[in-house]
Symmetry: C3
Subunit: 260 residues, 3 copies
Amino acid sequence: VIVAVLTDFGTRDHYVGTMKAVVLSVCPEARLVDITHDIPPQDIFTGALELAAAAPYFPAGTVFLAVVDPGVGTTRRAIAAEAGGYRFVGPDNGVLSLAFRRAGAGRVVELQEKKFARPVISATFEGRDRFAPAAGWMARGIDLQSMGRTVHDPVLLDLPVAKLTLDQIDGEILLVDRFGNLTSNIDAESVYGLGERVDVASAGHVARLVSTYGDVRQGELCALIGSSGYLEIAVNGGNAAAHLSAGRGTPVVVRRRLGR
Amino acid sequence: VIVAVLTDFGTRDHYVGTMKAVVLSVCPEARLVDITHDIPPQDIFTGALELAAAAPYFPAGTVFLAVVDPGVGTTRRAIAAEAGGYRFVGPDNGVLSLAFRRAGAGRVVELQEKKFARPVISATFEGRDRFAPAAGWMARGIDLQSMGRTVHDPVLLDLPVAKLTLDQIDGEILLVDRFGNLTSNIDAESVYGLGERVDVASAGHVARLVSTYGDVRQGELCALIGSSGYLEIAVNGGNAAAHLSAGRGTPVVVRRRLGR
Amino acid sequence: VIVAVLTDFGTRDHYVGTMKAVVLSVCPEARLVDITHDIPPQDIFTGALELAAAAPYFPAGTVFLAVVDPGVGTTRRAIAAEAGGYRFVGPDNGVLSLAFRRAGAGRVVELQEKKFARPVISATFEGRDRFAPAAGWMARGIDLQSMGRTVHDPVLLDLPVAKLTLDQIDGEILLVDRFGNLTSNIDAESVYGLGERVDVASAGHVARLVSTYGDVRQGELCALIGSSGYLEIAVNGGNAAAHLSAGRGTPVVVRRRLGR
């Protein structure tokens, strides 16, 4: 069984290794796969987006262990969930919610049963003492309902929604990746709905909509449908975030091109 | 069998992958788990602390392969060790010593037997040519005594010890993590021994002793017992190392609070 | 079967995790090993060198999945190859070529067969949609010839060749590692061929040829045969790249020492 792990712990300290040790102590057969550990510290939003981007590509049965947890040690709930053949464990702060909802109808429980946690739970490292053992037990096939009572109101993140009018879509940047590519909240269907000739404007620049980076010259700005199905702004061989001084929240407008 | 790996090699170059390749060439069933590869270059002390923090959470039988090795290529000994159900391999410079001693009584041998190393040993990459194959053989279950003669005087690191008086503990910072949390050498028992009302002072600031980060406001300094059982100084949602301009060696004082 | 992965994706985003998910979806038994994901963005040359340095240490049968791909989404070919018991998959831009040629005679095919790719291939993430599933199928043992037609002219990288004269070798730096060690294109045999007494000069400094870092004082410059069998310039306990302001392309000269 795959246990896919996403955190904001970084890889400089022993924390991720220690969490994996606990998963393997509970379930020696677990196969650990890192999604990323470099979510910006306590950035639930980015964590949720990255998890939701990766999750659908994992095989059915995968357990996702996601710990971006500004509320560690407080009374915020710890949850486990099941949807679309996937299982999830993490804090009830929304970090699981985008992947969970995308996977389909499901159920959520609160992690209350002490036997699925370590005997003493540190107030600063629930990843090790609560979430990792729960993930191990889930990998062993434990039934969700035996882990705690049903949660009917898990925290769900709301993504900003792009606004569509007849000739224009108003959206914004959600994510910046390592290459400086800017992913927006405008989906492919909305863009195609405007017709074949559109302009994409952001941060005072206008980008041509193309199919792939190579359709523009080196160093040129472009817009395209990225690998997650959303409009992305990029610079061929360069860094669009730096080029535009843009980041999360920067407005993006797609306009039907007038004239010829 | 798990082979848990800790180095200062970073992950930018191929070195860690190459070491793992050698482990798997010797023992195809080995399950590799990274503790961290971002120990500051040649910082034996941090390597030893991180290894000792992670090791107790791994299942019995785990082989720890730890390579932080300023003396690579010199005549410093290469050792393998066994203690408390764990096995260790690395240079004899103290990097294994904290985890090894914490695991309990054990034995140490010098890696002398050529058949457990690669045929040619590079003077700059013993991790690949000496330590990785030894870890592979250990994962295959080879007996420690067949690997070399007993070492009676392995290099042992000495951690600075906190000084306890009736009303005060004088310690210092040992580790700074990715979040800027400062871990000291003052253990929980010593703190609790001072009574319920204490102040923690470091770098000219006084921090309240609390149970978890969430007990103080965002951006506020606090002190708490961290996940390794030692007193830690932190800023809720912030970076205590930057806030205090503190790092390894910065003094920390815990005082019994006088008056009400 | 081991699938060893090298990319320039970094580990900050979900990309590497998503690629691994796809490999495991096709071949649940695959054992994933990271070589590195921190190849400088689009730097085919460094990617090829790092892959070639690591590959020979992996067990026979390993599938190497290497994605450094400035031409993603364009018509550059996607290839799979077989040589010396190893298998390779990646873009046809030279990133595989150094490891492939070093492995011995082999064959190369173009990835054309749609059933070994994901149904829809993103123009910006062929790593996920084309290369990862192909690697999964190769790990499952699919025959190379069933994946596409033979390629007779794969892109091969040319490394700069050191020039040998009777008393001198003129080479250059190819790689800088995390420690600032500088690896040149001058191999051990050429150096030894000059005799026992040589000087190594680069960037206005002269370095003594030694056997290992510890043969010089802390902070002193030295030259030695590195772990890949090539002449390396290093500073014991320091950073030679910073010390010499040197990097890829910096000339290195080895001279037979005259006089006594």
